[in-house]
Each structure stands twice: as C-alpha cells, then as structure tokens.
C-alpha cells in the first residue's frame, strides 16, 4: 500500500480549462505516468493522455511536470518530496486538444518540408559501404524518439506563434545535420538549406533544447553549432563564397537550392489576365434526404484533384472556352 500524494492536473480543451486537484495513491517505484493511469482507473476515466511504450522509447508521453518538459514514463515519483505537490500540464508550445494531449502536427509539417535522404547515384542496394566512425555522428541524431520536448522548450516558438512559419526547431536541425553528416547522402547543400528554409538563424544557442532531450542528444554542440559554423564559413569567406556562387550558377537548373517547391500561394494571386469573372460557386450536392453527404475527398482517381474538376474532358470544345487573349497594355498604369 502506498502513500497519498497531492497532484494538480490541467484539464480542459481548446476552449479553456484549469488545474484540478487530486489526492492519489502512489506506490514504490512508480513514475508520473503510472499515477496518471491510476487517476484514469479510479477517479477520472476520461482524462486524456498519450502514451505507448512506458519505457522512454516512443516519445508519446511528453508533458510538463512542475513546469519542466519531461517524459511522464521516465519521471520517477521518488524524485519528488513526499509532501511536494506535483503539477502536470500539457506542452505549452502546441495547441491543446484535451487535457494533457496537444496537437503536434506542426512537427510533422516541418518534417515534410525538409528534403529527404538523397541516395547516391549508381550504388546498388547491398553495395553501401560505410565505416562505423563515419556513421556514428549521424547515428547520435537518429536516436531521436520525436518526443518534441526540444521543440516545446525552444523560446523561438514557445511564446511566439508568429515564428512557427519560418522556424523548424531543434528536432529538425538535428535531422538536417544527420543528413549533412551521412556518408552517402548525395546532396551537398544541407547547411544552406537549414539557413534558408529552416530558420537556423533564429537560434541563439541557449541550449535549452539539449537540456531537456531525454535521449541526451547534444543538439546544440553536435548539430546546431557545427551547422552554423560551416554556414558562416561558406557565407562570409569571400573565396569560398565566390567559388560556390560560380558553382551554383551553372548548376542552377539541375540543382535548385530550394528542395520542396514553395506552396503555391504566391503564384495564385499574381497577374490574372482572364478578363472575365471567375466561375460561380457551385451548390453542394445533397443526398436523397436533402442533407449534405459529408465527404472530404470523393475522387475516383489517384493523385490530386484536377483544378478544372475531375469530370472535365480535354480538349474542351472552343465555344466553351472562357479564355480571352490579353490585350496589349493600354498605358493607364496598374
């Protein structure tokens, strides 16, 4: 039989919430996640929390315990005083879904924007040869369990929603570093990308990310600083800079620095010459009961929908074309 301890757990959802007080039994050897589970089983069956492995391997159970970003399954109760109140709150940097569960989609989005491993040309599967010393540097970063505690703690986005657009965060700096140090990755512009696309420049090396990493990855020392240093080298050393500039120019067609094409938002509103009104919005199709058939994607083909509608057959009969050739500029400005 264990002792009763005082817990304060944040409960609520995207519309708001508050800390609730609980007296709960704690036994020898237990971790914070065990106590949350006991609350579920005995007092609050609908208390929301993420977890999987209970062994610090999956990175699901990230939360803030007494204000510190931690894994719930790796925080032993014996690290607190018997009388101490333990306060458990959701990660602050990400929007709350419910109770201790937050929406971490930001991270999956940033992962997509980072160009994937580029396999070396002409090396068949089974023919990859690498030395242990050479893979070890990247292996350190591949230990990452994607708990996103480092993302949560980084001040660049913690209280600055507006930076999220331009800043990928430490988790993805180590991914960039990992690929940069991969002995066989075919791209050679990882550092430039980190600067240009990931917002490496926002990081001012506070090392908070390294401090919270449960895998003890030396995020700042082994990834961010080397990436920054070399970016600095290349950007400001006039000779290297010139060399790279020239190199880039004649390679530009085959090797654009930007990996993923940018979302097309900018292109869409640039100079439309259509001289006519856009299509009238169509009424939503309703089912036999007069109600909406709720469907997000009812396309019958692979790939993205055609911007002209999937039932359109090309070429269109000319009389149905809605295009007029632009007339030459009339000179009355824009």
């Amino acid at each position: 039989m264990g002792t009763k301890r005082h817990f304060r757990v944040w409960r609520g959802d995207d519309t708001g919430g508050s800390l609730e007080d609980f007296q709960v039994e704690v036994n020898e050897g237990e971790v914070v996640l065990d106590v949350i589970h006991r609350l579920q089983a005995t007092q609050t069956p609908d208390l929301a929390v993420r977890w999987n492995c209970k062994a610090g391997k999956c990175g699901s159970c990230s939360m803030e315990i007494n204000g510190k970003p931690r894994l719930g399954c790796m925080t032993r109760m014996s690290t607190f005083n018997e009388t101490e109140t333990v306060t458990v709150t959701p990660l602050r940097t990400f929007p709350v879904i419910r109770d201790l569960v937050t929406n971490v989609n930001f991270n999956y989005q940033k992962a997509r924007e980072l160009p994937a491993f580029a396999p070396p040309a002409g090396v068949a599967p089974g023919e990859y040869r690498m030395q242990q010393v050479d893979v070890e540097r990247s292996q350190e970063f591949r230990k990452c369990i994607e708990c996103f505690l480092c993302q949560n703690v980084c001040h660049v986005i913690r209280d600055h929603e507006e930076n999220k657009h331009a800043f990928s965060g430490p988790r993805f700096f180590i991914r960039a570093a990992e690929l940069d140090m991969h002995p066989l990755d075919a791209r050679d512009d990882r550092k430039e990308l980190a600067q240009a696309e990931q917002g490496l420049g926002y990081c001012n090396i506070t090392k908070c990310c390294t401090e919270v990493c449960p895998e003890h990855i030396k995020i700042t020392d082994n990834a961010i600083i080397p990436m920054k240093e070399r970016v600095v080298d290349r950007r400001y050393d006039p000779v290297t800079w010139l060399g790279r500039k020239i190199f880039r120019r004649d390679q530009l067609d085959e090797q654009p620095v930007s990996a993923s094409p940018k979302p097309a938002a900018a292109a869409a509103d640039s100079g439309s010459n259509w001289h006519q009104e856009g299509p009238v919005p169509q009424e939503a199709p309703v089912g036999a009961d007069g109600k909406l058939v709720v469907a997000e994607l009812t396309l019958d083909r692979a790939a993205a929908g055609s911007p002209f509608g999937d039932d359109q057959v090309f070429p269109l009969p000319p009389e149905q074309l809605r295009y007029q050739h632009p007339s030459p500029p009339t000179g009355d400005g824009h």
Binding site: E28, P45, C53, A116
Partner: protein, 621 residues
C-alpha cells in the same frame, strides 16, 4: 444522422508499424492511392520498441550463412509447425529488404569492411541480426516513415499536394470492416482526437495491426496491442491459426512493480550476459532439451569460448530459443531459487567492461538507470518472463498474404503461420518487411483488378450505433478499466505460460461471463479524446481473441513452443501435422483441425533425417 467523413482509396493499410508502412510504400509505388491508418501518432507504433535487430542471412559476419541455414533455424525454432513456404520466402527475401532500407537512409552498425554488422541471437546459428545498438526498431520505423515523407515530397512536386497519393490518418482507430458479397468494401473508425467518425471506401485492405499482449498484465506490449486486427478479420469471416501460441519473453523487468514486464533485450545474452539463480548457479546448462543437445555447449568453459571462437565451440544455453529459457526461469523461481520479486539474475556486469556495456547496450543501461535505479555495469538485472508476441494470427496465403476474404490482406505480427509455435528473436522485423512488401504489392494488384467499392449505408449505420453504445450507457454501465483488469487476471493466471486442463476450462467459462458484461460497458464523458471510451471499444476485440487462445490451448494436448501443458509435457508428432483454425460462429469461436501443408522434398533435404525423426511421425519419414 451522425456526420461521417468519407474517403475513397485504392488501398487502405490499417497499422503504421513496420509491416503497415512497408505495405503502404509498395502500394504507392504501384501507383495506387493509399491511406495509412494508425491508432497512435505517426512513427510511434509498436515497432519502435523492438531492440535487438532484424534477422537476414546476408553473411556479412560469417560468410557461411545463407538462406538455407536461416530457413532451417526458423523451422527448428517454430518446432516445424511453421508454414514452410512463408519461412522459405522470409529467409530468401530478408537480405534484399534490409539492403533496401539503406537506400531509404537507414544507418545500421557496420563491420570493419564497411558492411552491415550482424549480431548473435537465440536460435540463430550464425550472427545474423542487422542492428543499430539496441534501438533497431526505432531505426526501422523512422526509416520507413522518412521514406513515406520522401514519396509525399515527390507527389508534392508533381501534384502540388503532399497527400495526393499517400496520406497518413494518425490517431484514428478502425472499429469495423465491411464485407459485401464475400469481398471487402471498406473500413469504419473514429478519430481519437475529436471522436468524429470516418469511413474509408476501398476494395483492398491490408491489416497490419500487430499483436494481442494487452490481454495480459505482465507484458512488454503497449495499449495498442488489443488484437484489433485479429478480431476485425474474424468478424469479416476470415480465419485465425495457431492462436494457442504466445511467446513469453524470458527476460522482462520484474522490479519495480510499475515497470514489471518491460523488456530486457535478448542482446544482453547475445553479447555475453548469463543467467544465474540466487544460489549463483548458471542454471541454463540443466535445461537443454534433447532436440537441441547437439548444438549447445555442455560446460561453462566451452560456452565462454564460443563468443570468440564460434566455429570450434558450441553456443551457450542462454541462447536457446525463448520458450525454453522462459520455462527454465519459471522452474527456477518455482523451486525457490528466484529473487523476492519473482525473477532470476541476468549478469552482464561481470562479463564485459563497463565501457563496452554502455556502448553496446545504451538503451538498456538507460532503462535500468532511470526506471529501477540499477547500474547494469555494476550489478545484475532482475528478470522474469513477460508476454511478448503472438505467433498466431490471420491465416494467409504465403505468397500473396491474402486472407480468406477477398480483398483482405494481412502482414506482420497480426498474420499467422510464419513463426510456427515459436518465433526466433529478430525474425519479426524481417517478417514485417518481407510480407509487408508482398501485402502492398498484392493489395495494389487486387485494387487494380476490382476498382473501387462502397459499403452500404445500413452497415455503416450499424457500425455507428455499436461505437456509440458505451457512451449512451454512461455511468450506468460496467467500468471498462475494471473489466480490462479482470480479463488480464483471467488470462495471466489461467492461460499463462504453463497451462492445465482444469484452469483452461475455467478460463473459458469466465471469459463467457465477461463477454456478457462487456456488452454492458459504459463510459462517462464525451467523444473527444476519451480514453475510457477507447478502451470500452477495444474490450470486445481483446475478449474474442482471448477466447480463441483459451479454446485452442485446451484443444492442443501437447507442449510445443509457446504452448506448454503441464498435463501433456511432451511434444507429440501427431499434433505437428495439425493447425487449429479459429473462426466466428455467430458470437462464439469455432475451432477446427486442419492439416499442415507438406514441406517440399528439397527443403526437407536441408535437414538430417535424425533431426526430422524428432519431430515427425514414422509414416511421414
């Protein structure tokens, strides 16, 4: 009428572990619009927890290794109950599947000449497990996850939409599959996050949902392992085989109580760790069964020499297949030579320098330090058996992974047959890749042939009602946590590692009672991220799968691999020819005997006649 989000896909893959992701990659590469569905976040599936490695006869460390040897080890490990064709395909194709991972960016540990390093593991004749320290599962899942992202980037470049051809639906649980006119037509489930319902219309569904361990209290498995895929398949009319075979991993943590069951990887023993009882005796030498006598060392000296000179010495008995080691530990503890917490001692501290231990077993070092406050470089670990893996699963065609219902495919832990009565360590990760790929390929071909299908509105409405029922009963119903606890109690005590006739009969009666109570389960709260509701819906799956295990365990009156009967302690060659097949008859599980496929003569020729004689009946020889 409830709002239902509707999607149409060529191929729907349920499960985002190794098998599911590999299947999805293959379906997408075949040009099919593919959905991946997972109960947890992307990249957190159970595969992430695998530690030791992935078995593939690449022959990088010992060039004598080849697929024939791997095949032989797999059949021996499974006590010849394996589907021989699956074991054959697995042994042949595993190396290519591993090499392929390197082209996706995986970084395995290396040999001196720069190839993928391979390590020793129980039951494998040569060092065979490709590995990354002791976090191989993480490497595998991250690599596949990143490959999917790279395919999405290709689609973005081509179509302006990352999700044009492959989309991940994370934290989404499937509760029902639809079958019309004998073929699959779709899947239904809910988003954990919002509680909203979602319907996938599709003619090809791949089940890759993993195992069933959450029906046991002491288990290395996570909450995801509630046997959903097994149960979904049963309800569509497909069949399960070998459900009596559960692997109890010999070395789970036993102290402190809250981490009881968490795995201590077999690599500890592969790298030199030895098992001792509290009297300090290295007891495994007393437990080498006859069928393995020839391959295992008889003295400590010979066993110790094996680590440096495997060609001239036999391997230490600590590396016997898992079922043997688990039973041995169980006997030692029963005989009073175990620790207070009910385990034995696993010692690596006295066998390797501290530096080496930290290097080769970093996450074990970390795990014991953080969770048990034990420094494994200085003190032994306390370990005992834990429920780990289900050998049984959906009965599939070996080449195509197709289940008995048209359009349904299965790969990974949820499928059955590959591992026979006992799985060798490391054979799962390679199984995921080999059969995941095959599942994706054949599901895509099936979709190509059939086109798209739609479930009927009535069927969807029934699925909605079933899903909402526990919420309607609210507090008036049975508490799901209590029911789950009772189920674990029944399975752990009555259908555990050592089984007896009377107890198995009792378990079947008690499961039947529990089934009635599960029908009345109720939960308070709303639909939004409500774990009580999620558990309530998982319960019926756990229950039907447990019923399969209990009934099959009662029927099989012999001991073999992951099924040990105290009242029938011997292996019986007559039972080797039989698979027990479970199907659903209304609400109850029906059990049938089915003959095993007969191994082709050239494969039989890989074994010595005297060895086959230990397993087979006289007329078979």
């Amino acid at each position: 009428m409830t709002n239902i989000e509707r999607h149409t896909y060529d191929v729907v893959v349920i499960g985002a572990g190794g098998a599911g992701l590999r299947a999805a990659i293959e379906a997408r590469l075949a040009g099919k619009k593919t959905a991946i569905i997972s109960k947890s976040l992307f990249g957190k599936a159970h595969t992430v927890m695998a530690e030791g490695g992935a078995a593939a006869a690449m022959g990088n460390v010992n060039s004598k290794d080849n697929w024939q040897v791997h095949f032989r080890d797999t059949m021996r490990g499974g006590k010849f109950l394996n589907n021989f064709r699956m074991a054959e395909l697995h042994a042949k194709e595993a190396p290519s599947r591993i090499w392929e991972l390197e082209t996706y960016g995986a970084l395995f540990d290396r040999t001196k000449d720069g190839k993928i390093s391979q390590r020793n593991f129980g039951g494998h004749e040569y060092p065979r497990l490709a590995h990354v320290g002791d976090r191989t599962g993480l490497e595998l899942i991250r690599t596949l996850q990143q490959k999917i992202v790279s395919l999405q980037q290709e689609d973005f470049a081509e179509h302006g939409d990352y999700e044009a051809r492959i989309r991940v639906f994370q934290e989404c649980t499937i509760t029902e599959l639809f079958v019309e006119d004998g073929a699959v037509s779709g899947a239904f489930g809910y988003y954990r996050e919002s509680g909203d319902f979602v319907l996938f219309e599709s003619a090809a569904i791949v089940l890759a949902t993993g195992g069933v361990g959450k029906s046991y209290k002491v288990t290395s498995n996570s909450w995801e392992y509630t046997g959903d895929g097994h149960a979904l398949a049963l309800r569509t009319g497909a069949t399960l085989i070998n459900m009596e075979f559960l692997q109890f991993h010999p070395t789970g943590m036993v102290w402190p109580p809250s981490v009881k069951g968490i795995l201590v990887t077999e690599s500890v023993r592969g790298d030199g760790g030895v098992l001792r009882n509290t009297e300090g005796k290295r007891f495994m030498f007393d437990y080498v069964p006859d069928v393995f006598r020839k391959q295992y060392a008889e003295t400590e000296e010979e066993a110790d020499r094996w680590y440096s000179d495997p060609d001239n010495n036999r391997r230490p008995p600590e590396l016997l297949p898992r079922d043997e080691v688990a039973r041995a530990i169980n006997s030692e503890v029963k005989a009073g030579r175990g620790t207070k917490a009910g385990g034995v001692l696993l010692d690596i501290a006295s066998r390797l320098p501290a530096e080496q231990i930290r290097k080769r077993l970093p996450s074990m070092y970390h795990q014991f330090k953080e969770l048990a406050d034990v420094d494994i470089t200085a003190a032994p670990m306390e370990v005992g058996p834990t429920c780990h893996y289900v050998m049984g699963g959906i009965e599939v065609d070996a080449d195509t992974t197709a289940a008995a219902v048209a359009g349904l495919f299965a790969a990974g832990e949820v499928s059955g047959g590959m591992h026979g009565s006992n799985r060798l360590g490391g054979n799962s990760l390679s199984d995921l890749l080999v059969f995941g790929k095959r599942a994706g390929e054949h599901a895509a071909a099936h979709a190509e042939k059939i086109g798209r299908r739609k479930p009927s509105a009535a069927a969807v409405e029934a699925a909605v009602d079933t899903a909402l029922a526990p919420l309607a009963r609210a507090d008036a119903g049975e508490n799901p946590y209590t029911l789950h606890h009772e189920l674990q109690e029944i399975m752990g005590v009555l259908v555990g590692i050592i089984r007896r006739d009377g107890e198995l009969r009792e378990s079947i009666t008690r499961l039947a009672e529990l089934k009635e109570r599960v029908k009345k389960v109720g939960v308070s709260g709303g639909r939004k991220y409500n774990p009580g509701w999620h558990l309530a819906l998982d319960l019926r799956n756990m229950l039907v799968v447990s019923e399969c295990t209990a009934k099959a365990a009662l029927e099989r009156t012999e001991s073999r691999g992951g099924h040990t009967r105290e009242d029938f302690p011997k292996m019986d060659p007559k039972w080797r020819k039989v698979n027990l097949v479970c199907s659903l008859d209304g609400e109850d599980v029906r059990l049938e005997h089915q003959p095993l496929p007969v191994m082709r003569p050239e494969l039989q020729g890989l074994f010595e006649q005297t060895e086959l004689a230990k397993y087979m009946t006289d007329e078979e020889l």
